[in-house]
């Protein structure tokens, strides 16, 4: 089917850019069409917390003028939505939490600023697990997001609203953040493409912090090509984030043509153990076979300590979260308890009322592992195991260019299915967390359907290997059409 036959909402960013350039439609028409689609599906999916229709239409008009005068940016007039933990000046930024349900950011996050400067139009802010703590979008104060493939199911999380909106063909692209898998896992569960760049590749300025040594911003799209278009704009050094890396940003779109011939793809045997659903395993193996047929070489690699990545993460991430979330105190912004008796009561009740159950558990886990007498046994121990896990990856990347395997152990699960046991929920991220601990880039691409539900293939590369990951994902998407499959109710 040619692009001209596609409804406007079915097009990718690249397809929309062509349509805009050819004058098939204006940015205003595009924006109006997608705003209508947001409204139409909000009751079913709950993918949005805020819709910024008025600003979007203003931006669209300016984009149309810029195009006419020939000075639009590289993303001029292209629609995008932001996960609601990117600060947006003058617009609500809630992080899916009651404690920020009235917070209007005084400034834009670097990611928001860069995409806007390139001409992208923000249509709204997407729903998410509270402070990005969750793998199912069920911890949001604003209610769970549903999966467009089956609305009884979760879209994954924490960037669940972003993933659902992209999968349902409501918007072509959304930003997300990934601390332990929060871009890649929902991308896998919704049949979308999601990339988490190298730690430090994209500025975290204005991205509300959860676990600062693990958090990284990325995108969820419907193709690797679209992800490349956005990442090229988002990546780069920013003096306002002291962990942002001053490292040249390649032209990711130009690099997409690189063949997989001779690419050495590492396969980790432990990733195909009994923990992985057999249908998911079959899809992932098919995908690896396609890449092998296209000239890639499959090589067994060993990550001896990868089995400890989830417990390591659940010491390090809560420790950092307990520190980061101490800023929410009912004094400078956010929810404040009524009639506090004293300062302690103000802090404790504002936080007790403002945070949901999972956030409280993580703040308390973090407080515990950092408390007197426990720091060495938990936090220091975890940072040592983290070093071992990182060293395993460094060793593996001496022999392979990327490591590929499943993104998630199962396809999408039912809303409510895993809420009783935090550990069951945490194990959703068993294949994704390693990349965060080691600061590595990772991408998830759709690689099959199991009982009608999407399966994701994850590829992880060495630091700053985004170009290779995007090229490999793009080449795979030239060989297969899994990324073009849309959920039935959202064609």
């Amino acid at each position: 089917m040619g692009e001209g036959d596609q409804a406007i909402h079915q097009r990718t960013l690249a397809g929309l850019a062509k349509g805009l350039a050819a004058g098939e439609f204006s940015s205003r028409e595009l924006t109006e069409a997608l705003l209508e689609r947001i409204a139409k599906h909000q009751a079913t999916l709950n993918a949005f917390i805020t819709v910024t229709a008025e600003q979007a239409l203003d931006q669209a008009d300016r984009a149309d003028q810029a195009r006419t005068s020939g000075n639009g940016g590289p993303l001029n007039g292209l629609p995008i939505v932001h996960k609601d933990l990117f600060c947006t000046r003058g617009v609500l930024t809630t992080c899916g939490s009651r404690i920020l349900d009235n917070f209007v950011s005084p400034y834009d996050a670097a990611v928001v600023e860069r995409l806007a400067a390139a001409g992208a139009i923000m249509l709204g802010k997407t729903n998410m697990d509270e402070f990005a703590m969750g793998s199912s979008n069920e911890t949001s104060f604003f209610g769970p997001v549903t999966n467009p493939w089956d609305t009884k199911l979760s879209p994954g999380g924490s960037s669940g609203g972003s993933a659902a909106a992209v999968a349902a063909r409501i918007v072509p692209a959304a930003t997300g953040t990934d601390t332990g898998g929060s871009i890649r896992q929902p991308a896998a569960l919704t049949g979308t493409t999601g990339i988490k760049p190298t730690y430090g590749r994209v500025s975290r300025f204005g991205m509300v912090a959860f676990a600062s040594s693990l958090d990284q911003a990325g995108v969820i799209t419907r193709s690797a090509e679209d992800a490349a278009m956005l990442l090229g704009v988002m990546a780069g050094h920013d003096v306002r984030d002291s962990t942002s890396v001053d490292h040249p940003v390649p032209d990711y779109v130009a690099g997409l043509g690189k063949s997989v011939k001779g690419l050495r793809i590492g396969i980790v045997r432990q990733h195909f153990d009994e923990g992985l659903d057999s249908q998911c395993a079959a899809s992932v193996k098919d995908a690896l076979k396609s890449l092998e047929d296209a000239g890639a070489e499959l090589v067994d690699v060993d990550l001896p300590n990868i089995g400890l990545s989830v417990p390591t993460y659940y010491v390090v991430a809560p420790a950092e979260c307990s520190s980061n979330l101490s800023r929410f105190d009912g004094v400078r912004f956010g929810h404040r308890a009524e009639k506090p008796e004293d300062l302690l009561d103000l802090y404790s009740r504002s936080r007790g009322e403002g945070f949901g159950a999972e956030v409280k558990r993580r703040v308390m886990t973090g407080t515990y592992v950092l408390s007197a007498g426990y720091y060495d046994a938990y936090y220091l121990k975890a940072q040592k195991v983290r070093q071992l896990i990182s060293q395993d990856f460094r060793n593996a990347f001496e022999n392979v260019d990327v490591i590929a395997g499943p993104t998630a152990p199962t396809t999408a699960f039912a809303i409510g299915e895993k809420t009783d046991d935090p550990i069951t929920m945490y194990l959703n991220d068993i294949y994704t967390i390693g990349a965060n601990l080691a600061g590595l880039p990772g991408i998830s691409v759709p690689c099959g359907l199991a009982d009608g539900l999407p399966v994701g293939l994850q590829m992880v590369g060495p630091h700053f290997a985004e170009e290779a990951l995007l090229a490999c994902a793009h080449q795979y998407q030239q060989l297969t059409d899994w990324h073009q499959r849309a959920p039935g109710g959202f064609l």
Binding site: V104, P106, T198, Y199, G200, S213, V239, S242, T243, V245, L308, P311, S326, D329, G330, V331, R332, F333, R336, E341, D342, L344, L346, Y347, S348, R349, R351, G352, E353, A357, K360, R361, M364, T365, G366, T367, Y368, V369, S371, A372, G373, Y374, A377, Y378, L380, K381, A382, Q383, K384, V385, R386, Q387, L388, S390, P422, I423, L437, A438, G439, H463
Partner: protein, 125 residues
């Protein structure tokens, strides 16, 4: 831990809770946290727990702590703790003013202010 610091912050803790009692650490013997320990952690974290939440928090926090306990078995002698994913050190910058004064704008988000100050309940009598 210094008890006077706690007093200064308006919290008086019973002496036996100043240090969390040491747990037995072995996978065969998962030791759950007690309600008192959890309450102490909540106090340190400045989180008020409702009575109805309390049992659930004790149970789930215990499961999390038991789960992460498997790290204890990992051999980490001579391993340096990881400080940064890219082994980078923090950059320094010149100590120059780079921001404009936006106090009034920023304080629009504050629940209670007066004369440019944030208002909190009286701390010193």
């Amino acid at each position: 831990m210094d008890t006077t610091l706690h007093k200064a912050a308006g919290i008086i803790l019973p002496p036996d809770l100043l240090h969390l009692s040491h747990r037995q650490e072995s996978p065969e013997n998962p030791v759950s946290l007690t309600k008192e320990q959890v309450q102490h952690i909540a106090t340190l974290a400045r989180l008020q727990l409702e009575d109805r939440e309390s049992d659930d928090v004790v149970e789930k926090l215990s499961r999390i702590v038991d789960f992460v306990d498997q790290l204890q078995a990992a051999p980490t002698d001579d391993v340096l703790p990881m400080a940064h994913p890219l082994n980078m050190s923090q950059r320094l910058r010149a100590d120059e003013v780079s921001e404009t004064d936006q106090r009034d704008f920023v304080q629009q988000n504050a629940p209670s202010t007066e004369g440019g100050y944030y208002l909190v309940p009286k701390v010193i009598e």
